[in-house]
């Protein structure tokens, strides 16, 4: 067992026990043209066009890009600029529902070899559903010999259970997706990495894979950040994805469990990525739930669906409580990478005091960095020291800030330090 330094968090997986509910089609969706890492798409529809669910509404010539599809049927009522969570702007297509929920003529893609598989993957609009949004057809276009596919089912952030519900509700999709990827990329072995706080799915998948020697289930301790890519690769294989490397350099690729499940769904139905499972949680949420919602749905509607009074919400986070980003308004659309929204009733910013050099941040950092020294070097704007301390390796997991007794915002400082030395 390979293990990096980590911290222990409360799991808070209150939504684990309930099946995901289907959100009725919203009246209106707003679909951003950039929901993945890479070049944003250009809209291929114009105002006034009638579109069907699953119809392509945005595409790009660039290789590092995936198309965008309409998630409901209706009329394009607007194409406007939209500011993404990272501050960049892209176009977004607003569709008003016709209430008919008509799906475009989707037929399963014809897949015969690797090239047609990758083409189908691109056409599906697939990007990493764990949160990063990396285009899947790029990841699967292996340039080097790769021996292991790691399925990331760690779901190490508190609250989120959307991957877990995928495994409970549709385990066949997960296995089907793994088989497809293995078949068309030629990867010989797969490890499904699941944290021990999900004993039921570990048992299920052990049974399901008992006769499949090339697919193995690996139990991982429920620690944070177990699901971070470099940490996961090390935990599963003992291989170190070095500075500036990607997992493929260590003959491994990592895919989120919901992503492979989607690939299987797409290859069976031909319906592209237009909806997903989302955990809605938090102290302001009346009935925490997993919701199957169309991409482009406003977060406000998810909250209303859970019976939440929108006026109770003081803080709204997209993603997990450790790495998620705050939303400025509940009128923010669900995107392909949305795995959870956390709406909290109250929030008091903890008071920051002096660093007492207790070393908790140093003992928490999976990347073996020295957050307190990075902070000091950043305050002095000492870029050579920041480079020497490898501030660039920080993956913003937030463990250092979490454990700090002086409540210093170390993870935030690390991000600023990374920008400074970029």
């Amino acid at each position: 067992m390979f293990r990096l330094k980590s911290i222990i968090l409360d799991h808070l997986k209150h939504t684990a026990g309930t099946e995901a509910r289907m959100l009725p089609d919203p009246d209106k969706v707003l679909i951003p043209m950039s929901m993945h890492i890479g070049t944003p798409c250009e809209p291929v529809v114009k105002k006034g066009d009638h579109v069907l669910a699953g119809q392509k509404i945005g595409d790009s010539e660039a290789k590092m890009s995936v198309p965008v599809h309409a998630s409901i049927s209706g009329t394009v009522t607007d194409i406007k600029d939209y500011r993404l969570l990272n501050g960049k702007t892209c176009k977004a297509v607003e569709i008003s529902s016709d209430g008919k929920h008509k799906t475009a003529d989707c037929s399963p893609p014809e897949i015969t070899d690797k090239a047609s598989f990758l083409k189908a993957v691109r056409e599906s609009g697939a990007c990493g559903l764990g949160g990063a949004g990396f285009p899947v057809h790029i990841k699967l276009d292996l340039k080097k010999e790769t021996d292991t596919l790691i399925i990331n089912a760690a779901e190490c952030e508190p609250y989120i259970t959307s991957d877990y519900r995928q495994m409970v509700e549709k385990p066949d999709e997960v296995l089907g997706g793994i088989r497809l990827v293995m078949k068309y990329t030629g990867i010989a072995g797969t490890v499904i990495a699941i944290e021990t706080n999900k004993p039921d799915v570990i048992e299920d998948f052990e049974k399901l894979t008992a006769d499949i020697p090339e697919i193995n289930v690996l139990k991982l301790p429920s620690v944070y950040p177990q699901g971070a890519e470099k940490v996961l690769v090390y935990s599963c294989t003992g291989r170190i994805v070095g500075e500036g490397e990607i997992p493929a350099d260590q003959k491994v690729i990592v895919m989120n469990v919901s992503t492979v499940a989607f690939l299987y769904r797409y290859c069976c139905t031909g319906i592209p990525l237009i909806s997903r499972r989302i955990t809605v949680e938090g102290t302001a949420v009346k009935n925490p739930l997993n919701i199957f919602a169309p991409v482009g749905t406003m977060v406000k509607e998810l909250l209303e669906f859970t019976g939440t009074d929108i006026n109770d919400v003081r803080k709204l986070v997209a993603g997990g409580p450790m790495m998620g980003s705050c939303l400025m308004t509940a009128d923010t659309p669900v995107v392909k990478t949305s795995n959870s929204f956390i709406a909290d009733r109250e929030y008091t910013e903890p008071v920051t005091t002096s660093c007492i050099r207790c070393g908790r941040c140093v003992r928490a950092c999976s990347m073996n960095l020295m957050p307190l020294m990075i902070e000091k070097a950043f305050i002095n704007r000492n870029t050579s020291e920041l480079k020497r301390l490898r501030a660039g390796l920080c993956m913003n997991c937030g463990a250092c800030t979490y454990v700090c007794p002086a409540n210093r915002r170390l993870a935030e400082t690390n991000q600023l330090a990374k920008e400074l030395i970029r």
Binding site: E243, V362, R363, N368, Y402, Q415
Partner: protein, 320 residues
């Protein structure tokens, strides 16, 4: 709809705060405080009270005069006061205890910027200043439960200490039984005699994850090893003098010891070597305070050589 709060991730925080850590340290010191009162009477309690109160008052006025945010609530001044008191013989005058607190909090801690900024351990430095300034007072070791020999009550010495029966510390005489050393029934500073109470507190700190075993293990291990090699009595050398108090409560001070485990081991071993050398060859009977102070000064350099190697980092070409 409300205006939403926007803040950087993470959106969760652990419960731990500086004040909580300090209150755990105070809890860990309580067995030693109880032992101090059991063996050295009401005057020991009074000394602890004087040191703690004067430390907190000094911190309060320092922060006010310097126009900085108030920090007495983080309890670090109280911890400094208690540790300083435990480092004093029961016979020292109260004004001297107060002076010690002033040196610790004002000169060693606040003049360098307050908690987290001082380079030397406040209590250790204050003890050393008192030691070299008032050597007579500071090496006058009372006999435990002296009031029994006098036939008075333990409150007898609250105002005048001239009559307290004193004797040599077992570090010098070397004649105390191991049981007495373990329980604390020997001469010495009020808080350093009971190895049992200090060990209990030290284990509590480790269980509560306030400290890691690195410093105490390296410190005690080094002293034990060197004593063994030199043919000394290992349990005697570990349990006499201020070694346990130093190893568990003073050398482990966050601010003045290295942050990485590797660094802590170097630090603890250095403390052990210096303590052993002073005890064996120096003109002072005890070397714990000096060893910790000397290693405090080396801490920035130890930090430098004991940095963690980042995960998967490439060796770097020297930048010109």
């Amino acid at each position: 709809m409300n205006k939403l709060i926007v803040s950087p991730s993470p959106h969760l925080n652990s419960e731990i705060t500086t004040a909580k850590i300090m209150s755990l340290v105070l809890a860990a010191l309580s067995p030693a405080m109880v032992a101090a009162v059991v063996f050295f009477g009401a005057r020991a309690a009074a000394l602890i009270a004087v040191c703690t109160a004067s430390s907190v008052v000094c911190e309060y006025f320092c922060r006010r005069i310097m126009k900085r945010e108030q920090t007495i609530n983080d309890l670090s001044a109280a911890v400094t006061g208690v540790i300083l008191a435990l480092n004093l013989p029961v016979t020292v005058p109260y004004w001297m205890a107060g002076l010690g607190s002033f040196i610790a909090v004002v000169i060693v801690k606040q003049l360098f910027g307050g908690i987290g900024r001082n380079f030397a351990n406040p209590a250790v430095t204050a003890r050393i200043v008192l030691m070299v300034s008032f050597t007579g007072y500071m090496t006058d070791w009372a006999v435990p439960q002296y009031w029994q020999a006098e036939g008075t009550s333990c409150f007898g010495a609250l105002y005048h200490t001239a009559d307290i029966i004193t004797g040599p510390t077992p570090l010098v005489s070397g004649n105390a039984s191991l049981t007495s050393l373990f329980l604390g029934n020997t001469g010495g500073c009020i808080g350093e005699t009971s190895a049992a109470a200090l060990l209990a507190g030290g284990i509590y700190l480790m269980v509560k994850k306030v400290i890691t075993p690195a410093v105490p293990a390296a410190y005690l291990g080094t002293v034990a090893l060197l004593t063994l090699i030199s043919g000394g009595n290992v349990p005697h050398s570990l349990m006499s003098g201020g070694l346990f108090l130093g190893a568990f409560f003073m050398a482990t001070d966050y601010t003045t010891s290295p942050v990485t485990e590797k660094g802590k081991i170097i630090f603890g071993a250095g403390c052990g070597i210096i303590t052993f050398v002073i005890r064996k060859y120096g003109s002072y009977p005890e070397g714990v305070s000096f060893s910790i102070l000397l290693m405090n000064i080396l801490t920035p350099y130890i930090d430098r050589i004991s940095e963690n190697i980042p995960f998967g980092s490439r060796s770097e070409k020297k930048e010109v």
